[in-house]
């Protein structure tokens, strides 16, 4: 426990120090990576903890971005305090509707149904003139928090933007950790491992999964809101299955069984992309090969490297701690 806390504190200190140590470009790059990490962690609540492989999380991500674009008043900044909740609400509502229908299916059918719904949202923005159709739309000014005309928080500054994203990322980790450890989280995992048994114990499987799916979609919306704010632009590709699949790869690289694994997976994949782009024109090919090797060599994600790097076996770290904590109750 103390060791993992120490690592968390060191990582946090490094994250706080980063904007003061590197050029602006890398601060923006870090923000982008953290946003994708948030999206990957959101997806993993459904995929890893709920056993629900969704191919429509980009739609929740993109929808929130579009809400920001549509609510931004011309060339003036939108208010963060009103547009963020509305954007997240839109994503949550989409997840509620899609989840309510898709969760009636199982396994590969669930994947196909989420894919179909995701593509429906993609084509809604692609084939109609909403927000510029296939050309997309600009978010001309980054959102702000202002009271009585006085600006309190300006996301236009890359450093401020980075810290806001970092704060939301930490809140996401805290929220997901809380959910996973809660009675709800255990019921969700039980439904994943043995649906029939979980139901016969009295757990309402459909409701549990729907709640998890909506929470997951809402967090994806937070990520999408900040992505749109950062790029200053939204396009239908933001909602497409291609992004959904990329995020799924991040989750697989990072590992399905932990809250922060997908964050690591996102950082690895995005870092890898940046590195390869700078060195070769065939970066996608090389990236693909590396991803395949990672997934084959570490089926439980790159978090398997933790014990090698930090010198403790994860098993030994969690088990006695659990037993000791439970024994205290006896």
């Amino acid at each position: 426990m103390t060791r993992s806390w120490l690592i968390a504190v060191v990582l946090f200190a490094a994250a706080v120090a980063l904007p003061f140590a590197v050029p602006t470009y890398y601060v923006q790059f870090a923000s982008k990576a953290l946003i994708m990490g948030m999206l990957a962690m959101a997806l993993n609540l459904a995929v890893g903890h709920g056993g629900l492989v969704s191919l429509c999380h980009a739609a929740f991500f993109g929808l929130a971005g579009y809400v920001l674009a549509l609510l931004s008043p011309g060339y003036d900044p939108a208010s963060l305090l009103t547009t963020l909740p509305l954007a997240v609400l839109a994503s949550a509502f989409a997840a509620l509707v899609i989840g309510a229908l898709a969760l009636r299916t199982r396994g590969v059918y669930f994947i196909m149904v989420t894919l179909a719904f995701g593509e429906m949202l993609f084509f809604l923005f692609h084939d109609t003139s909403i927000a510029g159709g296939s050309d997309g739309a600009y978010v001309n000014a980054k959102p702000e928090i202002a009271i009585a005309g006085r600006q309190l928080l300006d996301l236009g500054s890359p450093t401020v933007f980075y810290f806001v994203v970092l704060a939301f990322l930490i809140a996401t980790v805290a929220l997901l950790t809380m959910i996973v450890r809660s009675p709800f989280g255990h019921a969700l995992a039980a439904a994943r491992d043995n649906e029939r048994r979980a139901r016969s114990l009295g757990f309402p499987i459909f409701q549990i999964r729907l709640i998890a799916f909506v929470v997951s979609g809402a967090i994806a919306g937070v990520a999408g809101y900040f992505a749109a704010a950062q790029f200053g632009f939204v396009a239908p590709q933001m909602l497409g299955w291609h992004l959904s699949a990329t995020v799924l790869v991040m989750v697989l690289i990072g590992g399905l069984r932990s809250v922060t694994g997908p964050l690591v997976g996102a950082l690895v994949l995005i870092g890898l992309e940046e590195l390869l782009k700078a060195t070769t024109d065939y970066w996608k090919l090389i990236e693909g090969i590396i991803v395949i090797v990672i997934v084959l060599a570490m089926p439980n994600g790159v978090r398997q490297l933790w014990p090698l790097i930090f010198g403790t076996s994860e098993k030994r770290e969690t088990k006695p701690a659990t037993v000791a904590a439970e024994a205290r109750h006896v």
Binding site: G185, A190, R197, S200, I211
Partner: protein, 252 residues
């Protein structure tokens, strides 16, 4: 004694043209073990699935106490006090014994789906978990992963999980299947203790165990009840002797 925990009336279930269960009625009282026997294909497992809600009836009604549960989903039936153990052990293999049973205890706690607070920090759930594990005789195995248990211990775990949900009626589907003599002894004693304050319906092939445990006996054949009553009466029933017990030789 005459407190009916579960009453099924005129249950019908057909799969296409096959009548798996036709016009089956059964009353299970609090404080008694009601055994359902019959040859393979008699509809016993279908009956259990109808009672637990994994299959819906095509006709008839099921009452759990005063509640009509005929149209309720399995999880709603469970929350109304119906617990079941499966023929094929269906525990959560990667969880410890404690985690398996705690999940069951949690399902019947006042806030089973609370999203905050660590799952370990609920004293009432923890208490019920420990009690159920103790009742099932698994205390020394509390921290073992379920997949590491022996077959017999996994059946004990099944029963511990059912106990932790504090049901009014327990459905047991062949609890002794695939079990050796010595293992079976412990489970039989455990099952005998379950009827205190609740009702037990058991489907079982082991006739010695059935006649040792059962307070009431129902015999099914081709989806129908051919006899029902006290074990000694049913044993003498002519239709039963030809249809079922005769096959086993020396049933008397």
């Amino acid at each position: 004694m005459s407190d009916v925990a579960l009453r099924a009336q005129g249950l019908q279930k057909h799969f296409g043209g096959l009548k798996a269960v036709s016009d089956v009625s059964i009353d299970v009282h609090v404080g008694e073990i009601h055994a359902v026997i019959g040859p393979n294909g008699a509809g016993k497992s279908t009956l259990i699935n109808l009672l637990s809600g994994e299959l819906f009836v095509n006709g008839g009604a099921i009452m759990l106490g005063d509640t009509d549960i005929t149209r309720l989903a399995p999880d709603r039936r469970a929350r109304n006090g119906l617990g079941r153990a499966y023929q094929k052990t269906t525990i959560f293999p990667k969880f410890t014994v404690h985690e398996n049973v705690r999940l069951a205890a949690q399902a019947r706690s006042p806030a089973p789906l609370r999203m905050f607070g660590h799952v370990r920090n609920n004293a009432a759930v923890h208490e019920r978990t420990a009690q159920a594990i103790d009742r099932a005789g698994l205390s020394v195995r509390t921290w073992i992963t379920a997949e590491q248990l022996s077959h017999g211990e996994q059946r004990q775990l099944e029963i511990a999980m059912v106990l932790a949900t504090d049901p009014r009626i327990i459905l047991l589907d062949e609890p002794l299947a695939g079990m050796g003599q010595s293992e079976a002894r412990g489970i039989i004693d455990l099952i005998a203790s379950l009827k205190v304050g609740r009702a037990v319906l058991i489907v079982e092939h082991d006739m010695d165990a059935v006649f040792e445990l059962a307070d009431k006996l129902t015999v099914m054949h081709d989806g129908q009840v051919i006899a029902s009553g006290l074990p000694q009466d049913v044993r003498m029933h002519p239709a039963v002797r030809t249809a079922y017990l005769g096959d086993h030789g020396g049933g008397s």
